[in-house]
Structure formats: C-alpha cells, structure tokens
Symmetry: C2
Subunit: 149 residues, 2 copies
DNA sequence: CTAATCTCAGTATCACTGACATTG
DNA sequence: CCAATGTCAGTGGTACTGAGATTA
C-alpha cells in the first residue's frame, strides 16, 4: 500500500489538529448548508442570543471574528431580517446589533443542525473518553493574556 | 466583562477544534514564512523524502491534498529546484516526482521550524497530558473505510 | 491630535469542483 | 467506451491587512 500517510505527518500535532479541523469544518458546512448559513452567522447569532445586543467590535471579540468579517456577516444577517442594526445614540461610532424574533427561531433551527454535527465529530471516540478529550482540547487555548495586545 | 466567549460556543466540540486549528495554523504559517514555504510544500516534501518518489495522484493520497492542489504546489517546488518531475515511461499519464538534494536540505530547514511550532502548540498542556491528548486526537479521524468511495 | 469604530477592497491558506486533454 | 492522470480556471469558507471616513 504505497499511499499511506507518512509517519512524520501522522504523529505531528499541527497535522492532527488541522486534519481534525478539516473534518469538523466539513460537518459544520454540511449541517448549515440546508439553512443557507455559514459558521460566521451561527457564531454571531449565538453571541447575540446568549449575551444580548452588542456593537460590532464587541461582537468580534465575543466570537473571535475580525471586525471586517463581522461587518460583512452582520450585513448578510440584516438583509435576511435576522438581526437589526442601529447607531448607538450615545456613541455615534458604534452600531448596536440585536437579534430579531426571526433570528431567534432561525438560530433554533441552526442549533439542531449544529448539534448533530457534534455527535458526528465525536463518533469515533469511545463515549467515556470524549469528556477527557474535550477537557484537554479546551486547555490548548493559551490564556487570553493580560493586556490582550 | 461583556466580551466573553458565549458558553454555547465555548463547549462546542466543532468550535474548540476550529479554534485550535486557527492557532495551529498561525504557528505553522509563522514557522514556514521565514523559508517562504507553505504547509502544502512541507507535506509534499515530507512524503517524498520519507516514502520516495511517487506520481502526483499518489502524492495527493499520501498528503490529503487534492490532485489540483498537488499540481500547483509541485510546480512551485519544481521552479525552486526542490523536486524534479518526469513522465512515467510505463504510463504516459503519470508524472513521477522526486525530491532533489536541494529539496532534502530545504526540508531539513523546514523540519526545524515545524518542530518548534509543535512545542509552541502544546505548550499550554501539562507535559504528562500531551500524549493522552494526541492519542485521542488521532482517534478522531474515522477509519479510512474500505472502498474509499 | 489620538484612538476607536465601521466599512471596503484586497490578500492568503486551504479545501474543493468542473471541465478538458491525454493516456491506458 | 470507460477510468485514471495531470492541468486549469474558478469557488467557498475563514483569517487577516491596510486604508479611509466618522466620531469620541
């Protein structure tokens, strides 16, 4: 079998993480495609639903999205009536974004789809090892670190 | 602190995997940037060095790259003299690719850079838990599955 | 003047699709 | 005719950069 993965790649942490992410990304894209949505949309709607309205800069920090990508995705959500955007009366630079009722029910739909992607992603792991894995995976993110700069 | 990660994202396996991959990708890009190389180049050189010359289709299967991406990356490597490409005399459809001496020493350079990216990636994990984590991460890839189709 | 916010245009890496010509 | 290979052009999702306009 000459088409095997090179051992040097197989054991490489960055390789393993990236291959896991490829698979995860495929599952998420597939799950959201039926609703014509993308990961960005889901992240933003979750943040708005769970933590309430916010300006776009705040949203970017909550969802690890770049400000420029927030601008685009919020625009797409707004055109579909899933969020509303209005200037902050107290600070004209900001635009506060809030989720609409349509957005909330749309999010419910996405939640169902996303949830089954989680099951699919973890399927290869024995159930009793999933929590251990997620625990360690969660610790892989370094501390946000004091200044943030 | 209004800019916290929503709990629904924080615990989501697909989110955690994708954020780990973002970090991993940043480290790899940074590590390779000094040599003006990308992940595709590293993967291909490793496969050629470790498993010997192969045609491009084979290379794609070895490195989880699409044929079309192999064509582009091999072309870039060839223009830098890091690999050689010649028609297979036994099968005119195939082009056998082999790594050159320059390619081998270039790969040595990349290996050093990539290696430090691994350390950096795993740094947040206590040393005695890294092996456990990698073990579980490796099992996340589902069995390649009989027919491959 | 400095800094933050929003927006826009563009880039980079990577994964993927569809089509075509060549060859088996 | 069918299948595999290499190639090319193009798309999609995500992360990121740089710059301009507005406002604090």
């Amino acid at each position: 079998m000459p088409d095997e993965l090179p051992a040097r790649l197989r054991g490489l942490p960055t390789w393993m993480v990236s291959q896991a992410a490829v698979r995860s990304h495929r599952l998420v894209v597939h799950a959201l495609s039926g609703s014509d949505a993308r990961g960005h949309h889901y992240r933003l709607l979750v943040a708005l639903h769970e933590q309430g309205s916010a300006d776009q800069s705040q949203l970017g920090r909550r969802t690890a999205l770049d400000r420029s990508d927030v601008a685009v995705a919020v625009d797409e959500l707004e055109r579909r009536g899933l969020v509303r955007r209005r200037r902050d009366p107290d600070d004209g630079r900001r635009k506060r974004v809030e989720i609409t009722d349509a957005g909330i029910s749309f999010l419910t739909e996405l939640d169902t789809a996303i949830s089954s992607a989680q099951d699919e992603l973890l399927r290869p792991l024995p159930a009793d090892q999933r929590q251990v894995f997620l625990e360690l995976l969660g610790r892989l993110q370094p501390d946000p670190g004091g200044t943030g700069d």
